[in-house]
């Protein structure tokens, strides 16, 4: 079933921070939502999540900071149990063992509060919760910002495999077109609270039309190296 949200918009302090925007997502689609800081990417992500949840759909969210997902007063075991219940799973124990091992957080003590784990481990814990069950969509907002590169790359590869196996749709929110380009087939470019360009990844990389897409494409990596 195509996921569809029409006329998403948002205001803050009387100012429009997201102009009316419609999003359609095919099952299993991988979409990158890219733009500079403050362009409205996360706002659109939040609006999309709210709209789809209001339709009764299951949406998993990995916010930019684990602080947005984890209650500092609750143990990690509590969070895990709560997420499993929300997805209608008994306790998620089997998934927990496999995913914790794959994300290399199996050494963490779930009895601790979030701040008892490093930021990187917290972020991977939130990703593990998002991969529980079979949500209709996973929204990942800068999911590897707190991770070291080697672990970040392994985590993104794991996400790729999971999404492919479960045919789950993904929206990857990032300021880094280089990162998005390797992970998604379709890009949505935002600037000043508007969706300014939308096309297949290759098209935007090779032939960007708007000034924002041109800027992102021109700065998508530090350098090319020989293979």
């Amino acid at each position: 079933m195509t996921l569809s949200a029409i006329g998403l918009s948002a205001m803050r302090s009387g100012r429009i921070i997201l102009h009316p925007t419609s999003v359609e997502i095919e099952p299993g689609a991988r979409i990158g939502l890219v733009g500079a800081s403050g362009s409205g990417k996360s706002t659109l992500g939040h609006a999309l999540i709210d709209a789809l949840k209001a339709q009764g759909l299951q949406v998993a969210h990995v916010p930019q900071s684990p602080d947005e997902a984890l209650d500092p007063l609750r143990s990690l075991a509590f969070h895990w149990h709560e997420a499993a219940q929300a997805r209608g799973l008994a306790d998620g124990a089997a998934h927990q063992r496999a995913i914790f091992s794959a994300l290399k957080i199996d050494g963490g003590d779930l009895r601790k509060r979030p701040w008892g784990w490093s930021r990187g481990m917290q972020q991977r814990f939130v990703i593990a919760m998002a991969l529980m069950g079979t949500p209709d969509l996973i929204v990942l907002d800068e999911p590897t910002s707190a991770l070291d590169p080697v672990i970040a790359a392994a985590t993104m590869n794991l996400l790729d495999r999971h999404l492919e196996r479960t045919n789950t749709a993904m929206v990857l929110i990032t300021h880094d077109l280089g990162l998005a380009a390797r992970r998604v087939s379709h890009l949505m470019v935002m600037a000043a609270g508007r969706l300014v360009e939308e096309a297949e990844t290759g098209k935007i990389l090779n032939n960007p039309q708007t000034s924002e897409a041109k800027r992102l494409a021109a700065h998508r990596n530090w350098m090319e190296v020989p293979c």
Partner: protein
């Protein structure tokens, strides 16, 4: 020249640096790459004299590093400034007591180089963009013309486009001012694009020191290879078709 000579350092009971040696000549850039906990921040603290190594020596032209009054550019630009002071007050702090007209002239020149409108310095850190505050941080580091500047993850709080722009401005200012730059970063792409040499730090030890060309063609250890592969997987560097 900065010389870090066989230093050992502890953080609490844990050994954070083990027999680390490296050198950095005037006007050159050394990037120190490694993951969280590798010892990068301990290395910076040791060079700045904030942490006394348990063994080994750190010198600038055979003198204690403090003699050259090195500057530091921090990772989180906004938290590097007093939130209630106008930025100008923080910028002037390292040169208090110097002739004001000379300082004004230097600020104006550095602002031009860093593409910062002068009037922006009258604002407080929260009133300008994070990319602009980081450039003000660089301006403050440059104001007293130190021969050595340490950059602790200077781009990690910035978005991808601003990162590349700021890196170019740092390199241009280095060309003009001639300072030695020690840049701690987890972004191998940045290191490869801008450093003269790259030191990889792992578990408190130097894994390798090489020039970017050699690193790309022959990363050496399996960890260095993993760093290179991760940089490709994350789109930081692209493999030519």
């Amino acid at each position: 020249m900065l010389r870090v000579d066989h230093i050992w350092a502890k953080r609490g009971a844990a050994v954070a640096l083990r027999n680390v040696s490296l050198s950095l000549s005037a006007g050159k850039t050394l990037a120190v790459v490694g993951e969280s906990g590798a010892g990068k921040s301990t290395l910076i603290a040791s060079i700045l004299g904030l942490l006394r190594p348990s063994a080994g020596a750190i010198t600038w032209d055979h003198q204690p590093v403090s003699s050259c009054r090195p500057a530091l550019v921090m990772q989180e630009p906004r938290s590097a400034f007093n939130p209630v002071w106008p930025l100008m007050r923080a910028v002037r702090e390292p040169v208090l007591g110097q002739e004001q007209s000379v300082t004004n002239e230097r600020i104006a020149r550095l602002c031009r180089g860093l593409e910062l409108p002068m009037e922006l310095l009258e604002r407080r850190p929260r009133e300008v963009s994070v990319g602009q505050v980081q450039r003000v941080g660089i301006l403050r580091a440059l104001i007293a013309a130190p021969p050595l500047i340490l950059f602790d993850e200077p781009l990690s709080a910035l978005d991808a486009v601003t990162q590349k722009h700021t890196a170019r401005l740092i390199a241009d200012m280095q060309q003009e001012e001639g300072f030695a730059a020690l840049i701690v970063t987890h972004d191998l792409g940045y290191a490869l694009a801008f450093a003269d040499s790259i030191a990889v730090l792992k578990d408190g030890q130097i894994e390798s020191i090489s020039d970017p060309g050699s690193f790309v063609t022959n990363p050496g250890s399996s960890y260095c290879q993993a760093l290179r592969d991760a940089a490709v997987a994350l789109g930081s560097i692209e493999v030519a078709a």
